[in-house]
């Protein structure tokens, strides 16, 4: 299927979904309290843009959440990729760290909330920590696996051309792992974005995750829906952005 065709079909399918939603809500097939119509959500959006939610403008909720997530992502990627690569290259380091990584990775990060609050308080630090830890562990595991999947034969070619161990790492292992690392970062950012809600459950007073949880206690499903659409949409855009970067930096991925 051609790219254009694919996109057209996707757009149509989403259009039909929203149309059905709108019809179901306006004809009141479903209680409007449970399923507000798209026009209602539109009006709410206008209201929130003008007056904000709980005295905080909507764009600021979005900004706060993005800032929390992106700062945690960056640190997680910057620390996680070298550590994961080193674990992949060194049996010893892998043996030391693997038990901790494998214990923490499947642990639901919500379970860490009480601890994060006790240790780091209810400020930004605990939110940063929760998003960071989720992203970081996934990056480490992915980068570790990326090393294992590198072709031995390209390393052999470099050896017969006289490359030293250091040169092999910098000029063969690293670029060879790049496509896999990009995929790892995409997956990890998805996981990190998911834990944003969990992080903002920690006594926050702003952010998209907090807005959704707070609005739900007042049965404002329209605001909950808006928050969900924004969270999902931003997550989607982040992934598209990373995909674009991947196409730009590793144009050879999947073409061999």
């Amino acid at each position: 299927m051609k790219m254009g065709q694919h996109i057209t079909i996707s757009v149509i399918s989403v259009g039909i979904f929203f149309a059905l939603w709108q019809i179901a809500a306006t004809r009141q097939w479903v209680d409007p309290l449970l399923l507000p119509s798209l026009t209602d959500i539109g009006l709410t959006t206008e209201e929130l843009l003008a007056d904000g939610y709980r005295q905080v403008p909507l764009w600021q909720h979005v900004g706060v959440s993005l800032a929390r997530a992106l700062s945690a992502f960056s640190v997680a990627v910057i620390l996680g990729i070298p550590l994961g690569l080193l674990m992949g290259l060194s049996e010893g380091l892998s043996a030391v760290l693997n038990p901790f990584v494998q214990f923490l990775r499947p642990l639901p990060k919500i379970a860490l909330i009480p601890l994060a609050v006790v240790w780091l308080g209810i400020g930004e630090a605990s939110k940063f920590f929760l998003i960071f830890i989720a992203t970081f562990l996934s990056v480490v595991v992915g980068a570790n696996a990326a090393v294992e999947r590198i072709g031995r034969s390209r390393i052999r070619v470099a050896q017969t051309l006289g490359a030293s161990r250091r040169q092999i790492f910098l000029r063969v292992v690293l670029p060879d792992a790049l496509p896999e690392l990009f995929t790892t970062v995409r997956l990890s950012v998805g996981i990190g974005w998911t834990s944003l809600i969990a992080a903002e459950m920690v006594a926050a007073s702003s952010g998209l995750g907090w807005m959704v949880i707070n609005a739900s206690s007042y049965l404002r499903t329209d605001i909950v829906m808006l928050g969900i659409l924004l969270l999902g949409g931003i997550g989607y855009l982040l992934d598209l952005l990373l995909l674009g970067l991947q196409r730009l930096f590793v144009p050879w991925a999947g073409k061999e």
């Binding site: 034969s153 052999r156 050896q159 017969t160 051309l161 006289g162 000029r171 060879d176 050879w252």
Partner: protein, 261 residues
């Protein structure tokens, strides 16, 4: 002529249980400088293992492997290698692939680019220097691999069934290309194949191997001379006789191998 490569009473066991067996048994062979030698044998006879020993990827259990009179301890640029797969670096352009070796030892790009362009012209890839490897066909990729291995001027080039994955027509062109490139240099070539016709066209000397344990069972010195034409080689008075003999010998070894399985 000087001795370039020597294997002296080399044996190698494959020890992984429960399939432990002797891969190579008392192999002795020498290659003179500038010689083109083909190792011919059925699959599993250990011919690639010999290449890996000469390259330095493996160490023999007993015996010695010498290159230029020195014991081979690890892989190095004196012994270039070409594999069945081109194994190009997909993140580099064709030109940067070819100059990968010299650029490792602090040669400036500009200094080696001219030489690389000569090599690309020699393998018929002028105009492709800025292409990405994944934009090339299989045969073109292998020609880049050839230029990449040859450009740094190795004393020995080891070729492990380099044309095995190519279609018949491309394979013939690559064989001609390889032989004419070799005639222009003084590189020693050790070429592994199970294709008898390929061996006959390429080699100064053919070493026929048996399997399990791998041994050299026969040596055939080519009567075809330096200048060869791949289209008329079959008309050489001795061609069919030698071909029959070699085919028979290889088949014999392959059958014997089957019986021991």
């Amino acid at each position: 002529m000087a001795e370039q490569i020597a294997l002296e009473d080399v044996s190698l066991q494959f020890t992984a249980k429960p399939h432990a067996f002797t891969v190579l048994e008392d192999i002795s062979l020498t290659l003179q400088k500038g010689e083109f030698v083909v190792l011919l044998g059925p699959s599993g006879c250990g011919k690639s293992t010999i290449l890996n020993l000469v390259a330095g990827f493996l160490q023999p259990d007993t015996g010695r492997v010498l290159c230029g009179g020195k014991i081979v301890q690890k892989p190095g640029p004196a012994r270039g290698m070409i594999f069945q797969q081109p194994n190009l670096f997909p993140w580099l352009s064709v030109l940067d692939n070819v100059t990968f070796g010299p650029r490792l030892s602090r040669h400036r790009k500009e200094d080696v680019n001219a030489e690389a362009m000569d090599w690309l012209a020699r393998v018929g890839l002028q105009g492709f220097e800025h292409h990405a490897p994944w934009q090339l066909s299989g045969g073109m990729k292998q020609r880049v691999a050839l230029a990449r291995a040859w450009l740094p001027g190795p004393e020995v080039l080891l070729l492990d069934e380099p044309f095995g994955a190519l279609d018949a027509q491309t394979r013939l062109m690559m064989q001609e290309l390889l032989r004419s490139a070799w005639l222009e240099t003084d590189t020693t070539l050790l070429f592994v194949t199970h294709d008898v016709e390929e061996a006959l066209f390429l080699a100064d000397r053919i070493l026929v191997m048996s399997a399990k344990p791998g041994k050299i069972v026969e040596e055939i010195v080519s009567p075809f001379g330096r200048e060869r034409d791949i289209e008329t080689l079959a008309e050489h008075p001795q061609y069919s006789e030698i071909k029959h003999h070699v085919l028979h010998r290889v088949r014999q070894e392959a059958k014997r191998h089957l019986n021991t399985l």
